[in-house]
């Protein structure tokens, strides 16, 4: 694993915009960053990223089945009691899921370490699956990358397959949904809808805020047609808090990701994984923080429900103290052993390893100037060159 500085394509911005990548720059700061790429060997990808991703996913799915059957564990994860039965039913019915992303710390040598699972609303999908692929093809074509260069990225192919497979059983109409004012989220659901369209699935787009509630407690589109399936790029735990949340269990709507993903998008999964697989080379020690205390060196504190690196406190073993702010100030937290991200020319890369319909599918790398990867981090492409 090396970080290689490279000349960006002169037309990369224009190309991005042609392909609907409107959020390549966020708040004036570059988000897509091709001034460098990470180079991997095939062995690193297959042994150190792909294989552990499969294994961690299997451990997580086994744990999900255990959690939905246990009131004690649902309680431990602070999932509102009102939704327990609905979540358990969605698991028992085998409601299909589409995707997830696990974040891994990896330096090219030691075992990759799991930071967390983003199994409900993982983002950076379009840039990993599509635009990163375009970058590789063009840089090979232009002779910047060697002809045999490859990429660990069958994400779009597997997405299309997975959508085609699950679509037959999904009630119609089928909608993709995200909050109205997020260019990034809107871009992501447009991309997913494009993939669905390519495999012959007609689906609509609706803003989360535009969803209606009918007199019968069903959810409706803007023409007052009852929505059959809703792909929501909006966290389940926020739906639970919203006014319409209480109608979810009886509305008859099918969600993707399904209700049972609520148990895997929760950082309480990290201590539970550690309890069951203590000492696993790809896991970091993790515990529930039952009584808040002073953070000891070598530990990280994370809210059980938080996104994009918000409200994280980190104290390295040599005393470096890093904290991020954010809106997730209430709610229970967990402690995880601090595994500082590797450093490459002053940058800290975090690997987002994708799982599509239970299969490892590819990866994207986000890089930050700090030890905590946040929504301001840059997306840096990768290639397999050896």
């Amino acid at each position: 694993m090396r970080r290689i500085a490279v000349t960006p394509r002169t037309d990369w911005k224009q190309t991005a915009e042609q392909y609907g990548f409107q959020f390549h720059t966020i708040d004036g700061e570059p988000y897509w960053d091709e001034t460098a790429y990470y180079a991997f060997s095939m062995a690193q990808i297959e042994h150190d990223i792909e294989a552990p991703t499969r294994e961690i996913h299997e451990m997580a799915m086994e744990l999900a089945g255990e959690i939905v059957r246990s009131e004690a564990l649902m309680e431990r994860l602070a999932i509102p009691r009102f939704y327990w039965e609905w979540i358990a039913d969605s698991w028992q019915r085998g409601e299909p899921h589409l995707y997830g992303r696990m974040d891994l710390a990896y330096d090219g040598m030691g075992p990759a370490k799991l930071f967390e699972l983003n199994y409900d609303t993982p983002t950076s999908l379009y840039e990993a699956a599509f635009y990163q692929w375009i970058w590789l093809e063009q840089q090979v074509e232009r002779g910047v990358l060697p002809r045999q260069a490859d990429q660990y990225n069958a994400i779009q192919e597997k997405l299309c397959e997975a959508l085609a497979t699950i679509a037959k059983s999904l009630p119609r109409p089928f909608y993709f949904s995200a909050v109205r004012d997020s260019a990034e989220d809107q871009g992501t659901v447009q991309y997913l809808r494009d993939c669905a369209h390519q495999v012959g699935i007609d689906a609509g787009l609706i803003a989360v805020e535009d969803i209606g509630l009918s007199t019968k407690g069903t959810f409706t589109d803007l023409d007052s047609i009852v929505i059959g399936t809703l792909f929501k790029l909006y966290p389940l735990e926020m739906m639970f808090e919203d006014d319409y949340g209480k109608h979810l269990p009886t509305s008859g709507i099918q969600l993707i990701e399904p209700a049972w993903k609520a148990v895997l998008s929760n950082k309480g999964i990290l201590p539970l994984l550690w309890e069951r697989h203590r000492g696993h080379p790809n896991l970091l020690p993790a515990f529930f923080e039952d009584t808040p205390s002073t953070l000891a060196p070598g530990w990280v504190r994370k809210p059980m429900l938080s996104r994009e690196g918000a409200n994280i406190e980190l104290l390295t073993s040599d005393g470096m103290d890093v904290r991020t702010g954010g809106p997730y100030v209430d709610g229970p937290r967990i402690l995880q052993a601090c595994q500082p991200l590797p450093r490459f020319e002053g940058n800290y890369p975090l690997i987002g390893s994708w799982v599509i319909a239970d299969q490892p599918a590819g990866m994207g790398i986000r890089e930050d100037a700090s030890l905590i990867t946040q929504d301001t981090s840059r997306f840096v492409p990768h290639a397999i060159v050896e």
Partner: protein, 186 residues
């Protein structure tokens, strides 16, 4: 190769993608028959007709339109056609009997490959309800006709509330938790 063989976009963006060798999907054409004999005498291989019929027969319970009451079912399908059924979750419903089947084929490597089949249910007014389109899309009613056609069904759904008209009482009940936090990230 560890990456997608092709990547393309069809709805998003403004430029056609020059790089990807996008192969167009073969189109499924469909025909509908009442019996295996009718299917075979239209020139289809007898064994393909039988296989399609058997599969439709096996799927007909699960894929039939669901009605809460017998009266609702009779209204659409007629007096003698509606039976009480139990779905895979153990819930009871009323559904019509299969009256025919649909067979799909694609032309590939200079020959026809038979790819799918599904049950059809004839309504009182002579239309046939099909559970799915050839692409896996929403099912609906199709006019009855003979001969092959590329399958594009009307919209509409089988019986559950999904896809039906409702009276929207309010909007905006989702999204406030995110707004309160100034957005969210994944």
């Amino acid at each position: 190769m560890k990456r997608s063989a092709t990547c393309k976009l069809v709805l998003m963006g403004v430029a056609p993608l020059a790089l990807a060798a996008c192969s167009s999907k073969p189109e499924v054409s469909e025909a509908q028959y009442k019996t295996v004999d009718e299917c075979a005498s239209a020139g289809n291989p007898q064994d393909e007709c039988k296989r399609a019929f058997d599969k439709a027969q096996a799927d007909q319970l699960a894929e039939s339109p669901h009605y809460k009451t017998r009266e609702d079912c009779i209204r659409d399908y007629g007096e003698d056609m509606c039976q009480s059924r139990v779905d895979s979750h153990g819930s009871s419903f009323f559904g019509p009997l299969m009256t025919g089947f649909l067979i799909g084929r694609i032309f590939q490597n200079d020959r026809y490959v038979y790819v799918e089949s599904q049950p059809l249910y004839r309504t009182r007014d002579g239309r046939d309800y099909q559970p799915y389109t050839s692409s896996g899309g929403a099912g609906g009613f199709r006019s009855s006709y003979s001969g092959w056609s590329s399958g594009k069904a009307w919209s509409g759904s089988g019986g559950s509330d999904a896809g039906s008209h409702a009276i929207t009482a309010s909007r905006g009940g989702f999204g406030s938790a995110s707004a309160a936090r100034g957005g969210w990230g994944g």
